[in-house]
């Protein structure tokens, strides 16, 4: 228990990554510093009737088959058929990221399967497996369908699988606010620890990142149609033309200060607090002035007892869409009114693409790496800043200046906005 009556502080003590820019923290850190992207021409998209071509792909994993026993993944991950059979591709990515995070945080089994250890997860489910199982149902009849088709496919598949596989006994839940999902999961996981309900939370974001997950966004005209992987994702740039889809998984381990002290681990960073607010505007289009995003950041700063002038770096939500990036730039100008003390801003989606439900957890993981390693990743692929996005301090290159206070922004459909405030651990 906490020594005083104040709320326990919350720290990030472990990370796990399966991303388009690397499948471990060291590789991800290097690629963030050196601004190396994870894009390639995605083979299934190289067809005349598919307008988008580039995807932020997960390397060293092959999950093209609907049968998990056909999948290939790095040998260091040993996963029994019994666990694999109910997974979607995002479940496999997340399971591997969990194993990394558990090792990284040096957690033992009794700490993981503990009444005060919970798990919050976010993915869009698996449109790929939903599609496949439904097609099979129509073709061979429901009684010849896999009994595990549902838990492998529906939204929630991530938490069902991980809670069972890792024998989680505390709080568990899935979050669904589209691209703000895993940021919401982090926020509510923070609350659970701060309120003393849990002492440790795993927070996971993951997405399949395959045809069925990404292509429907082309129908919304939100995907970049660029054929050159080197310039497809360019948040805040005047020539940006949409986001690049991506898959993968990130796991963030949050722990109370007492657990950090008891276990004697060195945290990546402290999660000071968070805030959220909604646009109340449109089902899919962000508010032109970024009103919800502004309110979310102000709420987060107030909850964290941090003044806007103290913020050193903002990892923007900016996905490289025409409307969204401008909304966020306006909200950043509104929150950080004093032009002289505006924080550095970058969107690492220029490197990774947009991981949808995965984005919030993935980029919070990036912020944790930046805080521990002492750098601020640049905003890659920026040639000419969109005039509408001027006035904010966009980093053109990585700066090796250690930030102290960092904000992570996330926004999702329906105008949901989340901001998380992180602090360097001395």
């Amino acid at each position: 228990m906490c020594s005083t009556n104040r709320m326990p502080r919350v720290f990030i003590t472990g990370l796990g990554f399966v991303t388009s820019i690397g499948n471990d923290a060291a590789t991800v850190t290097r690629n963030l510093r050196e601004l190396r992207h994870g894009f390639e021409l995605y083979p299934p998209f190289q067809k005349p009737d598919i307008p988008c071509k580039v995807v932020g792909t997960v390397k060293d994993f092959n999950t093209d088959s609907p049968d998990p026993e056909d999948w290939t993944f790095p040998l260091r991950y040993k996963i029994k058929r019994e666990l694999l059979r109910s997974m979607a591709p995002n479940g496999l990515f997340a399971h591997c990221a969990m194993l990394q995070a558990v090792e990284d945080a040096r957690l033992a089994d009794p700490d993981i399967s503990h009444p005060l250890t919970g798990l919050y997860a976010a993915s869009g489910g698996s449109p790929f497996l939903t599609h496949w199982h439904h097609e099979r149902l129509l073709k061979v009849g429901v009684m010849r369908c896999s009994p595990l088709g549902i838990v492998a496919a529906i939204v929630g598949t991530l938490n069902f699988n991980l809670v069972a596989a890792f024998k989680i006994r505390g709080a568990s839940c899935g979050f669904s606010s589209a691209c703000a999902s895993s940021a919401h999961a982090l926020g509510f996981a923070f609350d659970d620890i701060a309120l003393g309900r849990q002492q440790r939370m795993f927070v996971i974001g993951a997405e399949d990142g395959n045809v069925d997950a990404i292509l429907p966004f082309a129908g919304m005209r939100t995907l970049s149609l660029q054929t050159d992987p080197n310039i497809a994702s360019r948040p805040f740039d005047a020539a940006r033309d949409g986001f690049v889809g991506a898959g993968g998984a990130t796991v963030v381990v949050l722990e109370s200060e007492d657990e950090v002290a008891r276990r004697g681990v060195k945290p990546y960073a402290e999660l000071l607090g968070w805030g959220q607010a909604s646009d109340g505007y449109n089902v899919a289009i962000s508010h032109p002035e970024g009103s919800g995003s502004t309110a979310a950041m102000l709420n987060a700063l107030r909850a964290s007892r941090v003044e806007p002038e103290q913020v050193d770096y903002v990892n923007a939500h900016a996905t490289s869409t025409l409307i969204g990036d401008v909304s966020e730039a306006r909200s950043l100008r509104a929150v950080f009114k004093n032009a002289a003390t505006r924080p550095a801003v970058s969107s690492t989606k220029a490197l990774t693409g947009h991981g949808l439900s995965l984005a919030g957890a993935q980029e919070t993981g990036f912020c944790a790496l930046a805080l521990r390693e002492g750098f601020m990743p640049g905003n890659a692929h920026l040639t000419k800043v969109d005039p509408e996005c001027e006035g904010i301090h966009i980093l053109r290159a990585t700066e090796n200046t250690p930030p102290t206070i960092v904000i992570k922004n996330s926004s999702g459909f329906g105008g949901a906005n989340v901001a998380l405030v992180l602090k360097r651990v001395a």
Binding site: E69, R81, E82
Partner: protein, 330 residues
Amino acid sequence: MPEAVQPSSGTNKPFPPTPKPFAPEDEAALREALKRCSPSAFESAVQFRKTGNAEHVPAVVIGVIERFVEPDLRTKLKDADDDLRLIEDLGIDSLTMMEIVILVEDVLQMTINNDELRNLRTVGDVKTFIDCKIRGLPLPKPTKFLPIEHIGAVMPIQPPFLFLNEASVSSTAANGKYKITGQEFFLQGHFKDNPVMPASIMLEALGQLAVLYLLEGHIPEPGKTVNPAQIFFTGCEGVRAHRQCKPGDILTLSIKPKRNKMPLATFEGSIRVGTEKAVIAEEISLIFGYADAVNQPVPLNGATAESGVNGAAASIPAADSPPLRVAINA
């Protein structure tokens, strides 16, 4: 052939009615379906689909089960006896059982109802079940696993003279376990300062298992039920004791019916402790009588195949949780 009960549905037609010609594309589909099974399972499936000969079925079924068992447990299947239990010994849960069934259905081109699966507990149950389906024979009475509460409720013999802790009963055999606690009243005097389970009591335990078989495994004449108040010991032959059994020992008892015609039922029986032989009885004979069956209300869970031989048994909740009822928390 095992004695049999009529299946709840009358649709158990022989398969295949007339073997369909086995086309090359069928073979390709079969190869794909069995791609993670042993080559012999595939070969047997091809033979079965070409000829309809049921003797190829066990190899297919074992091959399919093997494919779903974790690799480190597969050795158990290599020289499996039919008592190998799917859940306890092979780690197969109800979802895996369904995966097995779906693949067997697909490969053997048959349809299996959920109700029919509920009582398949051992490898032998599965083999016999599929074999009966293929041959169009009535389905055998499935193995029932009875905990002490159930045994106590149906048996005319009661503690402190009941020497069964748990039992499983099918139409072809009954198996039971009894742990010698050391608290048995007769051990105070048998022997002085040296508690040894009397051989006569061990024979009694085998007899009790035979009584349980008559009540739970024996298939009475239509409209009749075995009367628990009319079962008595009448004789035994070829009884030998091989081992002293003492407190802490777990007796594994088994009996098999040899002849069974009212009023005489004859069994062979044996008791083991671990792998050691303890008692052999070449023949144990009981006499029994029938009573008129009371019409039983159909259980609400629809388990019509459980033909509740005994009035008391019907009021006991099904001891074995249905293995194939998946908890849907959706």
